[in-house]
Each structure stands twice: as structure tokens, then as C-alpha cells.
């Protein structure tokens, strides 16, 4: 099956994600897929939460923290500035506290708690995934292509999501119990329970956010997760491990794309040993890929003679990935 078929086979499909080790071409593939879909008349948003800002590089435009930027007709790109998001969020909490209690200044112990929170390692991941929920809830696009953070982060988040869920379940229950007590006390004292429990409302909101973000990654109908690999033993082994973990968290893996395959035809020519050996070892690895992933390999993309940068080279990559001319 070709990549184009796999991509367009499901009309419900809206979220496309590329995962894989760093530096294998996730961003190039994200950009090329976005390019292809945009050329097919679909409105596409390709977004990244990586602070290293690789979409800015590939599109040769500074889009970091600038919202949805139109790259060409139907193709929009967005790079989330996670740090700024955390700062804005903390500021929002401060403002809320000051408004609620008419304070001019945040009490010191509260302030230090807010400050310390940004040092927590989970803070960034949570902020990132919360940003992703924002992007998706906002809507307006036919396809969302998520240039995923390296595998570790995604796995970390997925496992966090289930722990978050259990945690929330517990505190929501506690909150409900507290509410029961409030009611009982009010009845005994013959009073009316008037005020709404704001915390309970917040808890439901948080639950909904976490639910949405983990659903985006695990929705069988709407989401397709593609692994990018290269014909190298180590990549194959690592990807297989990652795929097993992803499957455990019910991430729908839709296929594997092999990048950077050097043309075997070169062997017929007079080439240096260095290149000959590379080609032979890639050939071995390709056999292994075929053994392990079989027909789940849905595209094989050649090694290009230059870096993928700018729309012209993105088009060439898309043509190779989708096996059709896109001029």
C-alpha cells in the first residue's frame, strides 16, 4: 500500500503524527506531508512544540511563538513557545488570586510555590500537551500534522496521562464527599447550600483537558502515527522497542517510513569503497526491515543530495514520498 492510500483511506482521519529517533527526518516528513495534503486542497496545520524550532528552519521563516503562519495556500505552520506559555499561565494564576482576594501583591509563600512550579520537569510536558489541546480544540483545519517531540517525551506523557487520570479520579471523589458533607451540615443547621464548588468545576475541566490530550494520541479513527526509520540496525532495534511501548498505550501505529535510502543502482558504477560499503550495509538493514515490519513499510524515500530546506526541496521530498508529481 502506498503512503497516499494509507493517509487518505480513512475519511475520519485528522491527526497525523511522525515519531522516531531524533534526526531521522520527522520534521521533513511532517512538512512534506503537509505540502502534499495542501496541494490536494486540504487545509493543513503542521505544528511543533519542540523548542529547537525546526519548522522555522525547514520553511525558512521565523514562525516561533507567532501562532498559525500561512506558508502557502492551505498550508499553515505553528511553533509553540512552551516557555512563554508557562510564564503566561503563571501570570494568569497570579492575576486570578489578586482579583479574587483584592490583593495588591501575592503572599510570599504562594509566590514561591508558583515560581517553584516552573522548575518541575513535568511542567513543560504538561504545558506542551495543553497547548496541543488548545490548537486542536480551536479547530478550523482538515488535517493536523504533529511534528512530535522525541519519543521519550511522548511516552512519558502518555504514562503520565494515566497516572494523572487516577489521581484526578481520587481527588474528584474526595471533593464529591466534601460536597456531601457540606450538604449534610447545611441540612442539620437548616441552611441552604448556595455557593457552587469552584474547585470541583476546575477538576472537571482538568479531567476534560487530560482526557482530550491523551485521546488525540490514542484515537483509532482520527489519529495515525507513523514511525520514521533509516536503514540502520540500531534505528530498527530502537524503533521496534518504541513501537512496542506505544502499542501498550494504545497509540494507533499506521506504518513505517524508511528515509535516506541510497540508490542501489550506484553499485553498478565506479564508486569509492566507502559508499559501496554504506550501500551494502543499508541493503542488509533493508532486508531486516522487511522481515520485521513487512507490509507495514509504506514508503521508502531516497537519500537526497542536499538538505531538505525551503518549499522547493519539500516538494521534491513529497514527490518521492507520495510517488506522484506535485508541480
Amino acid at each position: 500500500m502506498s503512503f497516499a492510500d494509507e493517509l487518505l483511506r480513512y475519511p475520519e482521519r485528522r491527526y497525523i503524527m511522525f515519531g522516531g529517533k531524533g534526526g531521522l527526518g520527522k520534521t521533513s516528513f511532517s512538512a512534506a506531508t503537509a505540502y502534499y495534503l495542501a496541494k490536494k486542497g486540504k487545509k493543513v496545520l503542521v505544528f511543533s512544540v519542540d523548542p529547537q524550532a525546526s519548522l522555522s528552519d525547514i520553511f525558512e521563516r521565523d514562525i516561533f511563538g507567532k501562532g498559525n503562519v500561512e506558508i502557502m495556500p492551505n498550508l499553515f505552520a505553528c511553533e509553540v513557545d512552551a516557555d512563554r506559555r508557562i510564564r503566561d499561565y503563571q501570570e494568569e494564576i497570579r492575576k486570578k488570586i489578586m482579583d479574587m482576594y483584592g490583593m495588591k501583591k501575592i503572599p510570599e509563600e504562594i509566590e514561591s510555590y508558583i515560581k517553584a512550579s516552573s522548575a518541575e520537569p513535568a511542567m513543560e510536558e504538561s504545558a506542551i500537551f495543553d497547548a496541543v489541546v488548545d490548537i486542536i480544540v480551536e479547530g478550523g483545519f482538515d488535517y493536523y500534522i504533529y511534528d512530535l517531540v522525541p519519543l521519550g517525551h511522548a511516552l512519558y506523557y502518555l504514562s503520565m496521562a494515566s497516572i494523572y487520570d487516577a489521581w484526578l479520579e481520587k481527588i474528584t471523589q474526595l471533593r464529591e464527599q466534601m460536597r456531601e458533607y457540606d450538604k449534610a451540615i447545611a441540612t442539620m443547621k437548616r441552611e441552604e447550600v448556595t455557593e457552587e464548588d469552584q474547585i470541583y468545576k476546575e477538576l472537571l475541566y482538568i479531567k476534560n483537558r487530560i482526557g482530550t490530550s491523551s485521546k488525540i494520541m490514542t484515537d483509532k479513527e482520527k489519529t495515525a502515527f507513523f514511525f520514521v526509520i533509516t536503514p540502520e540496525r540500531m534505528t530498527i532495534a530502537d524503533t521496534e522497542k518504541a513501537a512496542t511501548l506505544f502499542r501498550r498505550y494504545n497509540v494507533p501505529i499506521a506504518g513505517y517510513l524508511v528515509n535516506r535510502v541510497i540508490d542501489k543502482g550506484l553499485l553498478e558504477r565506479d564508486i569509492p569503497d566507502y559508499l559501496r560499503n554504506r550501500i551494502l550495509s543499508q541493503d542488509e538493514a533493508m532486508k531486516e526491515i522487511k522481515d520485521r515490519f513487512g507490509d507495514q513499510v509504506i514508503a521508502t524515500v531516497p537519500e537526497f543530495d542536499s538538505e531538505i530546506k525551503g518549499l522547493e526541496s519539500i516538494r521534491r521530498l513529497a514527490e518521492a514520498m507520495f510517488e506522484e508529481s506535485l508541480r
Binding site: 499561565y89 503563571q90 494564576i93 486570578k96 488570586i97 479574587m100 482576594y101 503572599p107 509563600e109 504562594i110 510555590y113 508558583i114 517553584a116 512550579s117 518541575e120 513535568a122 511542567m123 504538561s126 504545558a127 495543553d130 503520565m160 497516572i163 494523572y164 489521581w167 481520587k170 481527588i171 474526595l174 471533593r175 464527599q177 466534601m178 458533607y181 457540606d182 449534610a184 451540615i185 441540612t187 442539620m188 443547621k189 437548616r190 469552584q198 474547585i199 476546575e202 477538576l203 475541566y205 482538568i206 483537558r209 487530560i210
Partner: protein
């Protein structure tokens, strides 16, 4: 609703008065107990959402920040209570 019930019961002469009296006595104790439990729960709740203020690692700081504004007034009493108990586990219930 509570008032109506009260009026009905009170209309029963001396027997009704006695019934009302014992009811009131019992309820008062219950209400006190309920209030105490309720405040323990409040403190337990803050502990499991904001525990890192006392150095107890708590899972998701991103979302607990959302709850912070609502517990600001209780933070001081909560901290005092948590740190006063000989064994803070006692204070959970």
C-alpha cells in the same frame, strides 16, 4: 424545607418538645462532628494537591496551579496544622 419539618414537630405538646430536644442535641453533636471531618478533608485535599509546598512531591504541578487560587485563604492554617501534629499522618483523619 428544614423549617417546615421543625414546625410540624414542634406542634406536639410536651412529647413533641422532648422529641425536638433530643433531636436537637443529637444533631448539634453530629453537625460539629461533620464540620470537623469536613475541615480535615479540606486539609487532606490541599495536601494531595499542593503537598509540594511542604516538600511532599505531588504529581502534576501544571494543573494544581489552577486550583491554587481557591485554597489561598486556607494555606496558612493548613500548613500550621500539618506541621503542628506530632505525626502528620494523624492529622489526615
Amino acid at each position: 424545607m428544614g423549617d417546615k419539618k421543625g414546625k410540624k414537630k414542634r406542634s406536639g405538646g410536651i412529647l413533641g418538645f422532648l422529641r425536638d430536644f433530643t433531636y436537637g442535641m443529637a444533631t448539634h453533636g453530629m453537625a460539629r462532628h461533620a464540620l470537623k471531618t469536613r475541615s480535615s478533608m479540606e486539609h487532606l485535599f490541599i495536601l494531595i494537591t499542593m503537598g509540594d509546598m511542604l516538600g511532599i512531591p505531588i504529581l502534576p504541578p501544571y494543573y494544581s496551579l489552577r486550583l491554587l487560587p481557591y485554597v489561598v485563604p486556607q494555606i496558612t492554617t493548613w500548613k500550621r496544622r500539618m506541621l503542628r501534629e506530632k505525626d502528620f499522618v494523624d492529622s489526615l483523619y
